[in-house]
Symmetry: C2
Subunit: 208 residues, 2 copies
């Protein structure tokens, strides 16, 4: 019994080793064939939780590597979020701009939303034309585009004209097909379930 258990475990370990050796060969080959470094355009979209927080995780990662970064938040409430409170601690490494005047159903004034989005894009263009900035987060830009607050062609052409090594992360549900087409990496965040559905409100650190 002990012997057979031992053999089972030993077999499993050997099968595991063989599988992992094959996997390592495949992955090493892929990495060897992926030698290019360049600035990426990443789009995080979908209805699930995690789009903006993922962008802010990449911001932390980039800061860990000593990169200069910029953030423009297009559509946010008036209260300071945890990410704003946190990243404003590092003005020497992050330029943090909160430009939106709240969610569009809060402002209820389309002309004011358009003016706010246009001001936010003007700031974004400055970041997108500065080669010293390694990562630019354009938080909820997709929402501004979805509502037609900004000219899509202008936005896409400014994104394409950015410095070649600069990464850009665009968040927000309902990404335009043209944005997805231009992007290098696109994640659709699907909601399997959300605490909100169970009557739990948005909480500090998680959503705020």
């Amino acid at each position: 019994m002990t012997d057979s258990l031992f053999t089972d475990t030993s077999d499993r370990n050997e099968r595991h080793l063989a599988r992992m050796l094959r996997k390592k060969a495949v992955i090493d080959e892929r990495i060897a064939n992926s030698p290019n470094e360049c600035g990426l355009l990443l789009v995080l979209t979908g209805n699930g939780k995690g789009k903006s927080s993922s962008a802010f995780g990449m911001l932390a990662r980039s800061m860990g590597h000593g990169m200069q970064c910029g953030v423009v938040q297009f559509i946010k409430g008036r209260n300071s979020t945890g990410e704003e409170l946190f990243f404003r601690r590092f003005p020497e490494q992050v330029r943090f701009h909160v430009m939106g005047e709240g969610f569009t159903w809060e402002t209820q004034d389309r002309q004011r939303d358009i003016a706010a989005a246009e001001a936010a894009w003007a700031v974004s263009r400055q970041l997108l034309s500065d080669p010293s900035i390694g990562l630019v987060v354009l938080d909820e830009l997709n929402i501004a585009l979805k509502h037609g607050y900004l000219d899509l062609d202008q936005v896409l052409s400014d994104l394409q004209a950015r410095p070649p090594m600069q990464h850009v992360v665009v968040t927000g549900r309902g990404a335009k097909p043209e944005m997805i087409e231009l992007a290098d990496t696109v994640t659709e965040m699907g909601m399997i379930k959300h605490a909100f559905q169970a009557g739990i409100k948005a909480q500090k650190g998680v959503e705020l």
Copy 2:
């Protein structure tokens, strides 16, 4: 012509206002009916990019609110990642533990992987039993569970026994159904496209 354009714009603004008024009413009511505050279990899974970075964004957010936090990375390469380099700057606010010995196809030794996962879980349990810790990130825990490196029932019961106000974020593809069942919020990150497919290697600030 100018008149009709003006009317079109004015109509559009009015329709927008009416739609946003209805939306605000619905959302305000939902918020009023969601008064509960409690510690959430969030699971970030799927094949798309953004799971770990989203967890680290929530970490930054929580730190912005002055919360004490803990991180355990279950399966990571030997090189320091940007998130490790960054969050280790704040030892007074984050306990950051990198416990894994590299991806499982790198170590190729199942018994060593199991030992590493068990050591990581022992550290996780300390965080999960400390009510002063507001947020715990268990990065790539799903991978350790998928490979059977940890006892699922034990992990789930330790998660359930944590302090009531503590948030936990679990990442990694292939989340177990029992983990999804226990979670309050679950996001499936779907890969629409990935720069890797176009021959671009993982880059600092984005993946590393």
